[in-house]
């Protein structure tokens, strides 16, 4: 007898061609629909080599080629315009009729569904559609799509291990161990240090770097009127304290509903429209003798000159940025699914059962069943079964399910994610990370270094812009110099050897060689003179005096007062000067 196989169609979608919004259809046929081997001759030649239909038209063609194939499909319809959705049950004939009768309707496989709601396709909110009459400024995420992206990327960062790791990898490489800020103007440097401290800048940049990846943009709000806290419609007396050093806060991009600009120029920003309810608190409190509301609804416009807006992954015409995770959200969903399915497959493959044959009457079978009930479903280890030769027990494993453990879907999805993020597979530490040679790892590293350098440049630009704004506010003309640790260490030994050779040949000075070497070794606060003094001190022998008895006072002493107090009288100094012809 030929073995029949249940064909399971995962999901498909029916979509009207003029409707931008997709909808999901779950099509699950339970009856045997076609013979895999024996009836292959009855199937259209198109399916001879591969009996599994891969699209809705394939499915329809398959059903048309074999009248024995039945279908019980449950389809979600989503009506354009009204937005109403309803469930319909379609059998074979109705399904084919629906497919053919209305040319405006098409089935669409919702294989790009990534768990974020009712969207289809591999883009958030459907197609990136650019109507000709809309102009280039429409070629961007509209606010709903933007918020959808925001939501899904936030979800992905928190729930998807690979994307979570990706964001952290980008952050770790972009910021490095830490950055160092230097400035030739000591007053400016002191001001910057104070600014760093009051704003907890290290933590802010840590978060900013992550949020930039997740949300695709950040908003830095320079609080107005020297305020040190964010305030909105507070009661008299509850105004936040003021501080001399300006405070900067990150504003969640999702609360900025619009960036109000001149229509013809998106760079000529007027206001940032902030609309959002605040947190809801269960308990209320008072401050300065007056109650503080448990919640507020913020509706305000932040003037453009109070906000620094940085966005990534967008084109020149786009107002809002896009997440680093944006292109891979769909594949991340598939990757998670592939893992889940594989685990379920593995779970099934470990299932087993007992095939028991009893040579006897129905009564014997019933007696046997009754006797086995006492033992429970799974016999304890070491259980002993006592029976006559009339009973035969055979343990069966789930051999068929074992074949479902195929990881190629994981590999493909993972490759797509890595390609979309621009991060090599080796960086994620999965089972696909091993097996590469040092050479291949280095080659794989080259493009990603450029990517991280770009992100680091942006971080540097953010810091520089903040410093410029700060110094301008205090009337100081200065620039900071931001130094990051090297992204990828080169072969340091060889480099240091080259450095030693260059210094020995007299091509570069000892000081320059020392400074380069210090950078190579990751010493951020290297000062040649101080280091030399320390070396002299630590080497054991003291600095040697050539003339221990007649060494004159150090010329150009910083401490004139001290120098004047020398016991060497001025007459002697005069003699020395005269006789040396100074």
């Amino acid at each position: 007898m030929a073995k029949s196989k249940v064909a399971k169609k995962e999901a498909s979608a029916l979509q009207e061609s003029d409707a931008p919004t997709a909808f999901k259809v779950l099509n699950h046929s339970k009856t045997p629909v076609y013979e895999e081997q024996d009836q292959a001759s009855t199937i259209d030649s198109k399916f001879k080599d591969h009996c599994k239909p891969r699209s809705v038209p394939d499915l329809v063609a398959l059903m048309e080629s074999d009248k024995t194939i039945q279908m019980d499909a449950r389809v979600f319809f989503h009506e354009n315009g009204t937005g109403n959705a309803h469930l319909a049950s379609l059998n074979r004939d109705k399904f084919i009729e629906s497919f053919k009768s209305n040319k405006k309707r098409t089935f669409k496989e919702s294989i790009d569904y990534f768990g974020g709601g009712d969207s289809g396709g591999n883009v958030v909110g459907g197609k990136d559609f650019t109507p000709l009459l809309g102009g280039p400024f429409n070629k961007q995420l509209y606010i709903y799509d933007y918020l959808k992206m925001h939501s899904q990327c936030f979800y992905a960062y928190n729930h998807d291990p690979v994307l979570h790791a990706a964001v952290q990898i980008i952050r770790d490489f972009a910021l490095g161990r830490d950055w160092a800020v230097n400035c030739k103007n000591e007053t400016a440097l002191a001001l910057w240090k104070a600014f760093e401290e009051v704003n907890d800048l290290r933590m802010m940049m840590y978060l900013a770097c992550e949020e930039l990846s997740i949300y695709g943009e950040i908003f830095q709000w320079w609080l107005p009127n020297n305020e040190t806290r964010i305030s909105y419609q507070v009661r008299p007396g509850q105004e936040p304290p003021k501080g001399l050093i300006p405070r900067v806060r990150l504003v969640d991009p999702s609360v900025i509903w619009d960036i109000i600009t001149y229509p013809e120029d998106i760079k000529r920003v007027l206001y940032y429209q902030w609309i959002a309810p605040t947190q809801y608190q269960m308990y209320a409190a008072t401050d300065k003798g007056q109650p503080v509301p448990t919640t507020k609804f913020i509706y305000q416009q932040l003037p453009a000159n109070q906000v620094d807006h940085y966005k990534i992954n967008c084109r020149s015409n786009e107002k809002r940025g896009r997440s680093d995770l944006f292109p891979v959200l769909g594949y991340a969903k598939r990757l998670r699914d592939s893992v889940n399915f594989s685990i379920i497959g593995m779970q099934k493959s470990t299932a087993w059962s007992i095939d028991t044959s009893i040579e006897g009457s129905q009564e014997d079978v019933d007696n046997y069943v009754e006797s086995q009930k006492e033992l429970g479903t799974i016999p304890n280890p070491g259980s002993e079964f006592v029976h006559t030769n009339k009973i035969t027990r055979q343990y069966l494993s789930n051999e068929a399910a074992g074949r479902g453990n195929n990881s190629s879907a994981f590999d493909w999805c993972f490759s797509m994610i890595c390609a979309g993020l621009g991060i090599p597979q080796q960086y994620f530490g999965t089972h696909l990370s091993g097996g590469s040679t040092r050479a291949s790892a280095l080659v794989a590293t080259e493009p990603v270094v450029k990517k991280f350098e770009m992100r680091r440049n942006l971080i540097e630009q953010i810091l520089n812009n903040m410093a410029r704004r700060l110094f301008k506010q205090f009337g100081i003309e200065a620039e900071i110099e931001v130094t990051f640790p090297e992204l990828v260490s080169q072969d340091r030994s060889t480099k240091l050897k080259d450095l030693a050779m260059a210094e020995m040949q007299g091509w570069i000075s000892k000081e320059r060689a020392a400074e380069i070497a210090a950078k190579e070794l990751g010493i951020m606060d290297f000062n040649f003179k101080d280091e030399q003094a320390a070396v002299e001190k630590s080497e054991g022998p003291r600095a040697l005096l050539a003339n221990p008895l007649t060494t004159p006072p150090q010329i150009g002493s910083d401490n004139e007062e001290q120098t004047n107090r020398t016991a060497v009288s001025s007459d002697t100094r005069k003699d020395v000067r005269d006789q040396n012809g100074f």
């Binding site: 050539a546 221990p548 107090r565």
Partner: protein
């Protein structure tokens, strides 16, 4: 209270004397440097000869023999340096003593006494410890033992990694103290010494080894006991401008830098070089102590027991020298018993520490300054008087 450093004539004379003393020191330092270079070269040659044999046989016994040989070479060097230090001590003490006596004599018109018998000088020089409290030979040997251990450790490393002999020599070479230039001093006026090698004193012989000399008509010296042999050596050393012979090992032995495979070359091929290490510091410190000791003894012999501490005040001056500056030694002594009781430096006379630039000058209530501008002589003039 007359402080002699207030007298122009005293300062000029003492300055000339100090320059002459520094010439002695300089010559000694260069000789020590030459001997050290020579010893280091021999060490490298010994390693060069035995390295391949030890490498092939992996014989610990052969390495031990090499270590013993290196130890002998360094011990010999230690002895050479000790002899040089001994001679320098005597010469420095004598010249400082005599110069101070003459400076006092011509500044105050006082009849000064000078007593430097040979036996005393020998005993003082031989028995004196270095500033670290150790006998010189013991102190030098400690440094050489440390160096020997470093050499053997570097050789063991080279054997372990199978390095060629040039690299192994480079590794040993890097264990040696580094060389630095000993700059030639731009002196105010070079002290010239006549061919006679000793000044003609109007003196009469008192004993075989001591003479009583009148250094000048106006300030006759009485009771002069004199070590003529040491004096002759000092004068000879002053008269001969020592020409430094560069015997740096890298000039004679093929050495490669183990870190970049480049041949090792001297950084200062044309200059006078000394080694920058503890022994060099100790020799200089010891010399300064001898000079101050000579000054003090000369003054005390003539009844001057107080001295003024003269520090060179600039931004390199130590705190301990700063507060002492301008004070009399009696005042310093008193303060060290009172408000400066806890001062880590308890020195009453300089040098207070390594590289101390402080000096001292006699001071006394009993002294009277005289105006002898016409007759006062400079140091070289006094040295060359006939």
């Amino acid at each position: 209270m007359l402080k002699l450093n207030d007298q122009r004539g005293y300062r000029k004379f003492v300055n000339g004397r100090d320059e002459a003393l520094e010439t002695l020191l300089r010559n000694s330092r260069l000789r020590i440097s030459e001997s050290t270079s020579e010893a280091f070269r021999k060490v490298l040659e010994a390693i060069q000869i035995k390295y391949n044999h030890i490498m092939q046989t992996s014989s610990r016994q052969a390495l031990d023999q090499l270590e013993a040989q290196i130890g002998q070479l360094l011990e010999h060097l230690s002895f050479i340096i000790w002899i040089e230090v001994l001679e320098l001590r005597k010469k420095a003490f004598m010249l400082a003593y005599a110069g101070e006596a003459q400076a006092i004599a011509q500044t105050t018109a006082k009849n000064v006494k000078v007593s430097i018998p040979k036996q005393d000088l020998d005993l003082k020089s031989m028995g004196k410890s270095l500033s670290n409290g150790l006998a010189p030979m013991k102190s030098f040997n400690l440094h050489f033992n440390k160096l020997r251990r470093q050499i053997i450790s570097s050789l063991e490393y080279s054997f372990a990694f199978g390095e060629p002999v040039e690299k192994a020599l480079g590794r040993v070479f890097l264990c040696f103290p580094r060389q630095t230039i000993l700059p030639k001093k731009k002196v105010l006026k070079t002290v010239k010494v006549a061919e006679a090698k000793k000044p003609e004193f109007s003196a009469f012989k008192k004993e075989d080894d001591s003479v009583e000399i009148s250094l000048s008509g106006r300030s006759p010296i009485s009771g002069f006991e004199w070590d003529q042999e040491t004096w002759d050596k000092a004068i000879q050393d002053l008269a001969s401008d020592h020409v430094y012979t560069d015997r740096s090992p890298e000039k004679f032995v093929d050495i490669k830098n183990p870190y970049n495979d480049l041949p090792m070359r001297s950084k200062f091929p044309e200059d006078d070089k000394i080694y920058h290490w503890e022994i060099e510091s100790e020799v200089v410190q010891d010399f300064v102590e001898q000079v101050r000791s000579g000054q003090i003894e000369a003054a005390k012999k003539n009844g001057i027991n107080d001295f003024v501490w003269i520090a060179i005040l600039d931004d390199r001056t130590d705190a301990c020298c700063e507060w002492r500056s301008g004070l009399l030694t009696s005042e310093i002594e008193a303060r060290l018993k009172t408000d400066k009781r806890d001062d880590p430096c308890q020195a009453i006379v300089p040098p207070a520490h390594f590289n101390c630039r402080c000096t001292l000058a006699p001071a006394s209530q009993d002294l009277e300054a005289v105006d002898n501008t016409d007759s006062e002589r400079e140091f070289d003039e006094w040295l060359n008087q006939r």
